[in-house]
């Protein structure tokens, strides 16, 4: 892997920045455009870029497929779990206000952060899973095939 030096260096520089940006979009989602879905896609892009440049094996070492599957399920559980916690507190499913009954609007903020976290986790997982599914089908490219 000694060729494509520029691609590899730029990718290494970019991956961290992309992940940082994903977190920004995730947590700033309730004040600016963005949120769980966009953040999840951006997060997945970091790994997909890494996979495109360094190969499927390398990215699967960082992010094994079994973890991807768990993440897909985990995000949904976080989302539904938030709603169930509201039910435990004696309110309707996904009534975030219940998280802080004296300041319903504060409760709404807390609730939406948890729900968006769930969305972000699942979308990251799904995007990477789709990439793995497509990349895994083609015959692996050898170094000489470039």
């Amino acid at each position: 892997m000694e060729h494509h030096l520029i691609l590899r260096v730029v990718t290494k520089l970019l991956v961290g920045t992309i992940i940082l940006f994903a977190f920004y979009v995730q947590f700033h989602g309730d004040f600016s455009p963005g949120g769980g879905f966009q953040a999840g896609v951006i997060m997945a892009v970091a790994f997909i870029l890494y996979g495109l440049v360094f190969g499927l094996d390398a990215v699967q070492q960082v992010f094994p497929p079994w973890i991807v599957h768990k993440l897909v399920a985990l995000g949904v559980l976080v989302y539904a779990g938030t709603g169930i916690w509201n039910m435990v507190l004696g309110y309707e499913f996904l009534h975030y206000g219940s998280l802080n009954p004296h300041h319903m609007s504060h409760g709404q903020h807390t609730g939406i952060i948890w729900v968006e976290a769930g969305v972000g986790i699942t979308v990251t997982g799904v995007m990477i899973a789709i990439f793995y599914a497509f990349a895994g089908r083609a015959p692996r490219l050898g170094d000489d095939d470039w």
Binding site: W66, H69, K70, V72, A73, L74, V76, L77, A80, G83, I84, M87, L89, G90, Y91, E92, F93, L94, H95, Y96, G97, P101, H102, H103, M104, S105, H106
Partner: protein
């Protein structure tokens, strides 16, 4: 800085949460199965959650059996702003059918799935199965038009995956799943275009609110176009006769457990959506004025009853024959709607349920035959009725119910249909219904002849199916007989549902006053 406000709130009890739990339990089971990832845990979790759904559905059915309704506001946002789950006699009945079918099919699926699908897919298979259950029940329970579309997609996407799992037995399952995907997506797109047009006209997505705002809009072209889009879109999902092309292959090549579940529930949930939109969102008067029932639904229903039955007679595969018979039976349900009377709708609702259990018996028997004979082509299952007496007897009971012989569930629905025909003054329709039943005699007799009167195929295993398959099959078969003899439960539930539907949005109009009262409070 918001000031602290002391809000008086009475904590909701588990009983208040029943409508959401109905959806939430199967919905959470799916990701839990994937998250835990233990193959051996997948089935027990799926079974327990569908059993819980069945219990909840029964409780809901009892609560609304007096014609009242339950409204659950998601996130505490009152409709029409928020999403509402709304349970009344019509959908509690369908919820009961779906959860009961899931509970009966799962024990059957254990050995059937182990035989037809490789081990590594089992956990994901059951996760998909639970998602499908969630989607179908969600379509039925929600009172929000866009939510219907969302749940429709959940159930459809998981169904495509489930159908494709038949590819380990027959590669054609992949093309069947792909066909279904294309047709199903077109259907869903049409449906969502219809919803979009309605939203454009009314500015609301809540069904009850939409119904209120659609009053007097009968001449509005946008509303008429929306109606057409919704009927055609859901028609694809229901498999109304000329839109049925995805159904035979999907049913034939899907794993037996999947076919059983889909045949008993998927098209039924779609029929419920058609009913809900025709009679609650659009008013019965509006539907009547479009002449769609007389000129489109009615003739197509008759065509389905005859054409699909004729095709069924000439099939050489038992499973495919049953698929075509399903299309014919859907014709009966559409005919009930086309008669535009309470009795007709009662017949539709009754047939929805009775045909569900009848097809459950037959497709489970198909699963047992696949396990022992390897396939269900007539030349492979010759003489299997004698080798597998219990399965054979179940097929006979299911077949009789399909024909509509007195003493079976199928008789009740055909009787209601004939009664509705006489009530409407269409005596010739009654004759046609009986004539099409004679076609059912032909295709059922062919199977019985193959099963009992032919010499057995030498390659087949000649032992009875495992107990785990026999017990669910016979629960359904006995239900077929029971609901043919004791009709109180089914007729009461169905006629309450039909009354509610024929009343149009009048049955739903308390919604606005209730919402207003809640807002004042």
């Amino acid at each position: 800085m918001a000031t602290a406000v002391e809000v008086h709130h009475t904590a909701l009890t588990l009983r208040d949460h029943l409508p959401i739990l109905q959806i939430l339990i199967p919905f959470c089971t799916a990701p839990l199965i994937v998250f835990l990832g233990y193959r051996s845990l997948a089935w027990p979790m799926a079974f327990i959650s569908s059993l819980l759904s069945l219990i909840i559905a029964t409780m809901l059915l009892i609560q609304v059996s007096d014609g009242s309704y339950i409204s659950y506001h998601l996130g505490g946002w009152a409709p029409p702003v928020g999403i509402e789950y709304r349970v009344d006699a019509a959908n509690a009945f369908v919820l009961f059918l779906i959860s009961a079918t899931a509970t009966v099919v799962l024990p059957f699926a254990l050995s059937s799935v182990a035989h037809e699908i490789p081990c590594k897919n089992h956990a994901l298979f059951y996760a998909c199965f639970m998602l499908c259950v969630t989607g179908l029940m969600g379509v039925v329970i929600t009172g929000d038009a866009f939510n219907v579309f969302v749940f429709l997609e959940i159930s459809s996407l998981s169904t495509y995956v489930l159908v494709s799992q038949g590819s380990y037995r027959d590669k054609r399952a992949l093309t069947a799943a792909y066909d279904y995907l294309i047709m199903g997506t077109i259907g869903a797109t049409f449906f969502v275009i219809g919803i979009g047009l309605l939203y454009m006209t009314t500015g609301t997505l809540n069904m009850a609110d939409m119904a209120d705002r659609l009053v007097g809009q009968g001449g509005n072209r946008t509303v008429q176009a929306a109606f057409a889009f919704i009927v055609v879109g859901m028609g694809l999902k229901v498999a109304i006769y000329p839109l049925h092309l995805w159904l035979p292959s999907a049913y034939t090549y899907a794993p037996s457990a999947v076919t059983t579940f889909l045949a008993a529930t998927a098209t039924k949930a779609a029929i419920y959506v058609v009913l809900r939109f025709m009679f609650t969102v659009f008013q019965p008067d509006f539907v009547f004025d479009t002449h769609i029932l007389v000129w489109i639904i009615g003739p197509l229903a008759l065509l389905a009853m005859f054409a699909a039955s004729l095709i069924a007679i000439f099939q050489t595969d038992f499973k495919r024959m049953l698929a075509y018979s399903s299309i014919a039976q859907i014709g009966y349900m559409m005919l009930g709607i086309a008669m535009f009377s309470v009795t007709g709708l009662t017949a539709t609702m009754v047939h929805l349920f009775n045909h569900g259990i009848t097809k459950a018996v037959l497709f489970m028997a198909v699963g047992a035959l696949v396990l022992r004979a390897g396939s269900t082509f007539y030349d492979r299952i010759e003489g299997m009725g004698r080798a597998m007496p219990l399965t054979g007897a179940a097929i006979v009971i299911g077949g009789l119910s399909l024909i509509g012989v007195p003493g079976t569930a199928g008789f009740i629905s055909k009787w209601m249909l004939v009664q509705a025909a006489f009530e409407g003054g269409y005596w010739w329709l009654a004759l046609i219904i009986v004539a099409s039943s004679l076609l059912a005699v032909l295709y059922v007799w062919r199977v019985v002849e193959v099963l009992y009167l032919h010499t057995p195929h030498p390659d087949a295993t000649h032992t009875e199916a495992p107990l785990l398959m026999i017990v669910p099959m016979w629960i359904a078969a006995l239900a077929c007989l029971y609901f043919g003899l004791d009709t109180r439960f089914i007729l009461d539930a169905a006629s309450t549902a039909a009354d509610g539907l024929m009343a149009g949005s009048a049955g739903m109009s308390e919604i606005s006053s209730a919402a207003a009262a809640a807002a004042d409070h």
